[in-house]
Symmetry: C2
Subunit: 356 residues, 2 copies
């Protein structure tokens, strides 16, 4: 608290990211990182950009990330002016709140979802109303057909991993034409259907993606928005009033190369999906209720064990999972899908804890 | 224009960064980049972070950039909690507008200064009043002793390069205790005195710096704010409501290493200062009026030649300088200091143009 702070600073509730333990070999299943490294082509591209002496690093990067956007556009069969690139999908979402979701009517998003959304809303003074998930943690899109200044949810949803069929999203778009519908697809590549295929038909659809999860580049901070060129223009106008050069040269090179190695991407997604199914089976055998997931995470509760206590018991074994002290979900664990070996360590640890 | 845009988007005047020509060998003296590459230690640090397989890139970076801040703190003899690290000093400035400069009374900054300031003010809806520089483009700090919600100027000033003695800044701080004074030191290392030495004594002083100019890392997007821990806390609260992880792993590694090679930094600054003095002499010989500069740029006008025309004539020769179509300065060129060879190409080209 300080008299020098702007009023808004007093009213913020900053987001708290998952812990980054400094242990040598933690079993880190708490921030939904990919268990596999990025494509070797990513490494090559970074080394190429560095060159012998890092000569290019003294120069500003392309403020529009054109080559990256053209590569991603070709990948999705769309135009570069339908893509916005930002410093991680968190920045893309923040700029989206400011550029497209701040209206007189309230923004709608689920009561259980990415916990950054209410934080953005407070920063940008966006009025919002939360819509309860049903008892199975499913989104019913008909609940969002109400007067609103925007609709926002992840598909698959966070922190549940539960996916929504594309047909439901299209049904919402047919009914909700007066405000922007934002689908946050951070986890989409692990088994859900992307709405990017719909952007040509719905001028109020914005799809947000990231290279942090499925492309193993959480460390490089690159995210995208896909939509009608007018929506992208709004994001560019805000970005160019905030920070002209959000993506450094190595991040642009890395993300571009990640899209150029589709085989690596597909193989890793398939491995994560396979590990997820095996982990879900293991947890179910131990008595957990596991939410059906199309993400690289599982959301699970055990009827006989307190979630916060389980987190502590696992932490003692240097195993990290995420827990949210929030209504309706404070008995759930959010477990990132690691390698099969990591998942097995977790399941064995839980078995030990339950046996003790 | 779109009905889906938030109201604010219609009112923005986005900043336009200097052109990034795609020519093979332009003489690029338009965006104040350092003519010398970063330290070899920077390259080593990036390669070390990459490792064999880029294994660390799949993991989120440290959201607090602690190692970087500790390194920079040790360099300046201050504490890490007196430093904020952001995605270039442009992002640091943007967050500063939101966190510390938005008050009922107007923000004060010079009429001729970094042209991003009014853009930030419009985005964050910060009322501002510009204070005219005197006829020699000097800042008189006494002009800023007036009711205000904040004071902001660069030292040396942009785009003039003209420095202000530290004693003047301290005089302002003694008189202006009720609002934050932000000194934007993007160019300070080329001959001005940093106000970082004053942050322990003035709780309302915030100093902003960047690795883009003097540390040859424009391509990596790292900037800092230095100040009382309460001011830094405000920046962190806004940052953690906007984007938890603004600095990627390679940017953190690069910037840390840049501070660990002080000899490289000092040598390059000395070379740039020497080239600046030689270029100033060359321009003066050609009849230019050159503003005294302590930055890696010169701000100069020729009484006999229209500035916009000179820009075009130079551009034909693949020589890029910056020109601002703004009141009082539309007959000036802003010329970044390149290598001696680049400066000589510029001076010879101007001589040719004048002779033709």
């Amino acid at each position: 608290m300080s008299r020098y702070w702007s009023d808004i600073v007093h009213r913020l509730t900053p987001y708290v990211p998952g812990e980054q333990p400094v242990l040598a070999h933690p079993v880190k299943l708490n921030t939904n990182e990919n268990p596999y490294p990025p494509s070797p082509r990513v490494l090559d591209a970074i080394r190429r950009e560095l060159g012998e002496a890092g000569e290019s690093l003294r120069r500003y990067p392309d403020p529009t990330a054109l080559k990256l956007r053209e590569t991603v556009a070709a990948y999705h069969g769309i135009h570069a002016n339908q893509i916005f690139a930002g410093n991680g999908s968190d920045e893309v979402l923040a700029l989206t709140f400011e550029a497209l979701l701040k209206h007189d009517k309230p923004l709608l998003f689920p009561d259980i979802t990415y916990s950054f959304y209410p934080t953005y809303a407070r920063l940008f003074e966006v009025e919002y109303r939360t819509i309860p998930l049903d008892d199975s943690f499913a989104i019913n899109v008909d609940d969002y057909v109400a007067p609103n200044g925007g609709v926002l949810f992840p598909n698959p949803n966070a922190p549940t991993g539960r996916p929504l069929p594309l047909a439901d999203i299209e049904r919402l778009l047919l009914k909700n034409t007066e405000s922007v519908v934002v689908i946050d697809e951070a986890y989409v590549d692990f088994g859900a259907e992307s709405a990017i295929t719909l952007i040509d038909r719905y001028p109020n659809l914005l799809v947000v993606q990231t290279v942090s999860k499925s492309r193993s580049l959480a460390g490089m901070r690159v995210g995208f928005a896909f939509g009608n060129a007018e929506l992208i223009d709004a994001l560019n106008r805000v970005k160019d009033s905030f920070n002209s050069y959000p993506l450094d040269r190595l991040a642009q090179a890395a993300a571009t190369a990640a899209y150029e190695d589709d085989g690596w991407f597909r193989d890793n997604c398939a491995k994560v999906i396979s590990s997820r199914e095996r982990l879900a089976a293991g947890l179910t055998t131990l008595g957990f209720d596991v939410v059906p997931s199309a993400a690289n995470l599982l959301f699970a509760r055990h009827p006989g064990h307190d979630a916060a206590t389980l987190v502590l018991r696992l932490r003692e074994r240097e195993i990290f999972v995420r827990h949210f002290k929030a209504p309706r979900i404070d008995q759930h664990l959010r477990i990132s899908v690691g390698t099969d070996a990591e998942c097995e360590i977790l399941v064995n640890a839980l078995r030990e804890i339950f046996g003790a």
